[in-house]
Symmetry: C2
Subunit: 718 residues, 2 copies
């Protein structure tokens, strides 16, 4: 559902299930893209941009080159990317991708988000409570099997059910036979369906993270901007059977980094794009999705601020979510600005008109495809009516309260045939869902209560006291009071209680006297009702129409295209290159000098202060060391933590952001100023050696002689 | 004439007479301004912004405070500002204001623009060839006398002549009686006329200038932008009767500078603004002035590039003009962008509609003023027709060739009564004009020839070979050939030849066989004809209408207003403050760290390389020293070199630019992002002491004990 597009690095903050949802809803987001000139495209590894690479750069990657890069690429299932960077299981990502886990490892006494962490020995590496990493092992085209399930006689609802049934069967079969995580992913609006099999890792231990002030230097103001000075890096080690995994496919480290104008690649997991949404869909986004979404996020940020203001511990608890929402807000505002720009909308209208004219010229295409756009236009009229009820009749705000609803739904869904289940509950999706439902991560009840109360009060403000949802959930009471009661006695903080409910099934849940489960039971029918209405009256129609448009695009423009992003592995490419900015030029890279300039320019005021260790060791640093750099590679949220590699497949940096000009990239790519921002490999090594007393880790990354210290650890087996 | 508005720091490059013209044409540019909230306004010293200062800052400047600042402020007549900063005649301005003189002091062997200069002794200070400085001594309201000359029975042409006659008489009388330079300046569209008397200095010697790469760091790309890292400073010493002038009113130096959020003032000479042009006038600008102006400048830059490419000496000769035109182009493009922004034009339309509605509501005002706008609208129709002929039937491109035309016109004009002369030739204006006509500055004939040929070829391209101007000037020949012949034998490079012609009067000029004078004689009648048509059919009508609008504005909005800029002394005020930029915040100041960041970010590539001395002495610098800073003070071209002072009237910096967001300030001031960019006082002292081995000069600026070295010089008398 398009309404679920959020920058994927913020999914933790918005809901624990959003990644799952994003995957489940990919049927609707997967509008296929036709690349223009320029370094455009988030290409699947089954269809890499060989033509563009050869024509523009004279580069022809071998299959081995592609396989190696794919197998070194890691998906962080809380919404980011990463890569193996050593033969002993080191995985590098961003601090802000790791920060959800860092927060869950933290306590009032130890704040790893704020203070960072370095494990001097393997024994001191800290296990992540609920981090799942995926590595894409294989891709199999299952289009014909999925499409064969849909018979011409079926109406849209029956077709949707048949499609879901086929997908679920393929996934289950694959899971059973390979034990690999198995996802069927619709691409090109259902023009193709691909079975992706992932190796899954859940024993992932923290090795290094800098303090947040180094990683997220410049805070929310500098977020999504460039020039930038962030050491947004975290390093984990992946274990299997209690020992570091032998990661054969890892990226060799190149401390020199990439030069200006050098060709680079980004391999990662862009969350979602809407480049080929129809104009009708974009108008709904412009008129409803963004203004409402922005209003909601602002309200929730205000609630978080109230909570943070209560004290330092409250501030610590709320910090991760605050980052996530500020990040989302800035992205939304950039995207919303794009949609309100008449030039962008005119371009979209012209593209669509040209496409439709091309289709109309061919009698066969015309008969087959030309009705699709008006079908979507009509469905969008209904979408606009359902938009608010679907959005506001939910458990929102609190990820913990959302667990209660998920438990209530879980026990009902697992009894149904796969094809009839709600999104996220398909058989093959259950292991990942259980992993989240049974996470031992700490729960901050007061914070969760405040957020749920704020969200329900918001729904009440939206619909008024006499709305049936409000009446059913709140009665005549204030949201704060209802939620307070629901939280007062809940035992769901105990993982065993959650486990017992799941295992106890429908009767256990129906008979539960847990106050939060009781609240969730009241909400559940409304969520189901709205989901059904949205599915029947909007999604199924648009899926069918979208498939037609997808096929029409293949017919009209050929197969040298890439699909919209779906949080699956993609290959982007581009050059390290500055761009016109603010009346002048932004450089291709920044240096540590710039960090100290910005800090002193703001008289060391937050969020522009440098951490103490930077000040203390400034004279030891070569300040001309590159810190961040930009390239034209086409990325979006979810690519956070993606490795940047050179022609030799060597690691030269890690993506952590896009510039402000890139936000409109959700709808259209333009390489004039759209840039991906990365941490430079030299900055990481310099920081480890000079600032963090971590020469052994730097040596391991650079592939120098295995440091002596590993011999002293007892945990690892190497 | 509005067509002559150019950023005043570039006047040297465009024409030697443009400052004079800007002054002469002030009748037409002087639309009065009504300040909004915010730190808006370029206020005359006779009507300082006391109300705003008191209300917004609780600051009440005394008359003494105002007089002191005014008398310390210096106008650089080639188009900039400056201030006395020592009791021994030191005047500080920008390198780019000084660069015209620096270039004239230079030779193929010694390039002071590029390499900078420091006079270790007074004896080694270098005299500027043709620099005139002015200090505003007094302001006298002569409105009633000027307006009394215009009788109700007069038509517009007679009224214009009567007005000019009265102005000329007042100026001449004042000059004769005081020997001070005397200019009558129309303000508020002729709502007021003021007699300004200036003390004039022409013995102005260079003391210090850094190398251009330090002064103009970042070159054209960084020009008109911020954050910035420029040491755009030059220091002269003013002499009278062979000795340094005892400058009683000088600004005390404050090396600490101004803090963020501190109130500061800028006292300088903004060239021109068009804030209250009518919509009809702005539309002519948008449709003709800017697109044509931008095309001309681009063409001339291409010609300069061809010349520069011939060798390093040619590049040196062309450098000043190239800077001037690039500077103009960037300003034009920013202003043009503003005019094409529908939001800006809508705002202007609304303001005008509101103003006219207010006038229409009052019967008396309605009868008196309401016809003025439609009179201007009608005149603008004619203006559009005359625009190109007036612009392209000229001696353009070459300042040297323009001298020939000025000589031809001079001998004719001085015989006429003052009121009948062309602008720039009024009796009181002659001393300044003679100073320019008889300048001993070097002339680069090959460069001047190329530029005149390019401009005449451009006119020919514009009008075609059969145009009467083209036929008269070029016959059937190529512009290059005609100009080559005109330059081949000219003797006008010799100041004595020019002098002889001026003194020989009309017969000497008529009988001159000088080839360039001959060419100028052919052009002269066309210039006169176009001037007359423009004056009769546009300017006189718009002056009369403008006066009405000016009076209407006083009536409707009161007297707490400031007039549009006219290259006369103005007081601006504001706070030191960053602003939202590029999705984040621009800091209030930059540091030397930032200079090294930008240099290293671009791998020391031009124009982002730092001068060698900066690299060599980097470790001696405290890199956290502030380098540039921004404030909300309202400025525009011509303010270059203006001192920034604090509440105590102390020097805390020198204005050298506006940011890219300020370019639209020609039409409208908005303090959200409009910022004036200045060099910080600390940067100047640090540079002098640490980089330029000039501790004695730093001591003199900081008012420390007179350094011993002065005792060793023989020239000065102190």
């Amino acid at each position: 559902m398009r309404g679920h597009r959020v920058p994927l690095t913020v999914t933790v903050a918005l809901s624990r299930r959003l990644v799952v949802r994003a995957l489940a809803c990919a049927v609707l987001v997967g509008w296929g893209g036709v690349p223009g000139a320029a370094d455009e495209g988030m290409w699947t590894f089954d269809n890499p941009p060989l033509k563009a690479l050869k024509e523009r750069y004279g580069f022809v990657p071998t299959q081995q080159w592609l396989d190696h890069l794919r197998l070194a690429s890691v998906r962080f299932n809380d919404g980011g990317s990463g890569a193996f960077v050593s033969p002993d299981g080191l995985v590098l990502t961003n601090h802000h991708v790791a920060s959800g886990q860092l927060q869950k490892m933290s306590s009032p006494k130890k704040d790893y988000v704020k203070d960072g962490f370095y494990a001097k020995t393997r024994a001191s590496e800290i296990k992540s409570p609920d981090l799942e990493l995926n590595v894409l092992q294989s891709m199999e085209n299952v289009t014909s099997r999925v499409q064969a399930a849909v018979k011409p006689v079926m109406d849209e609802a029956a077709a949707a059910e048949a499609r879901r049934g086929a997908i679920a069967a393929i996934e289950k079969e694959s899971l059973d036979s390979t034990s690999l995580r198995s996802d069927v992913v619709p691409l090109y609006q259902g023009g193709e369906y691909w079975l992706h099999r992932y190796k899954k890792y859940t024993d992932v231990r923290l090795v290094f993270a800098p303090e947040k002030q180094a990683a997220f230097y410049g805070g929310d103001p500098d977020n999504f901007t460039y020039p930038r000075y962030d050491l947004d890096v975290a390093i984990f080690r992946v274990y299997e059977n209690g020992a570091p995994v032998k990661s054969r496919d890892y990226l060799k480290w190149n401390t020199k980094g990439a030069a200006e104008d050098e060709l680079v690649f980004v391999s990662g997991h862009p969350g979602s794009t809407d480049r080929l949404n129809t104009v009708a869909q974009l108008e709904t986004d412009r008129d409803l999705y963004y203004p409402i979404g922005i209003k909601v996020v602002k309200r929730r940020l205000a609630a978080l601020k109230r909570y943070s203001d209560q004290g330092p511990e409250q501030a610590r608890q709320a910090e991760g979510m605050t980052f996530g929402l500020e990040n989302a807000l800035k992205a939304y505002e950039g995207e919303y600005r794009g949609l309100r720009d008449p030039q962008l909308m005119d371009k979209k209208k012209k593209e669509e008109a040209d496409f439709r004219a091309l289709v109309a010229k061919n009698a066969e295409w015309n008969a087959e495809y030309s009705g699709a756009w008006s079908a979507i236009e009509k469905a969008e009229v209904r979408h606009r009516e359902l938009f608010k009820p679907e959005r506001f009749r939910q458990i929102r705000g609190s990820g913990f309260a959302a667990l209660a609803l998920e438990i209530v739904q879980y026990v009902a869904e697992v009894k149904k045939p796969d094809a009839e289940r709600l999104p996220g509950f398909r058989e093959a999706q259950l292991p990942a869902l259980q992993f989240q439902l049974l996470s031992p991560a700490p729960v901050y009840l007061a914070l969760e209560e405040l957020l749920l109360a704020d969200a329900l009060q918001e729904s009440s403000d939206e619909f008024g006291a006499h709305d049936e949802f409000i009446t059913a959930v709140l009665g005549q009471r204030l949201a704060a009071d209802v939620v307070h009661d629901a939280f007062k006695d809940t035992k769901l903080t105990d993982v065993n209680v959650r486990k017992a409910l799941i295992e106890g099934g429908e009767s256990a849940v129906a008979n539960s006297t847990d106050s939060l489960i009781a609240l969730a039971r009241k909400v559940d029918p409304f969520v189901r009702q709205m989901h059904k209405m949205m599915e029947d009256q909007v999604e199924n129609i648009e899926t069918a129409a979208g498939e037609k448009i997808g096929r029409a695009r293949f017919a009209a423009y050929g197969r040298d295209v890439y699909p919209d992003a779906t949080f699956t592995l993609r290959l982007s490419f581009g050059t390290v290159k500055g761009y016109p900015m603010n009346g002048t030029k932004a450089p291709a890279k920044t240096t540590f000098y710039g960090l100290f300039d910005r800090a002193n320019s703001f008289d060391m005021k937050e969020p522009f202060n440098v951490p103490d260790r930077f000040q203390q060791r400034r004279r030891l640093l070569d300040l001309s060391t590159p810190l961040n750099f930009v390239s034209t590679a086409d990325i979006i949220g979810g690519n956070s933590g993606s490795p940047v590699v050179n022609r030799s497949g060597e690691f030269v940096g890690v993506i952590f952001d896009g510039n402000i000009e890139s936000l409109v990239g959700r709808f259209v790519y333009d390489d004039t100023a759209n840039r991906a921002v990365a941490v430079h490999s030299a900055a990481i090594i310099t920081a480890l050696r000079t600032l963090y007393d971590a020469p052994a880790l730097a040596n391991e990354l650079e592939g120098r002689a295995v440091p002596a210290r590993t011999a002293t650890t007892g945990t690892g087996k190497n």
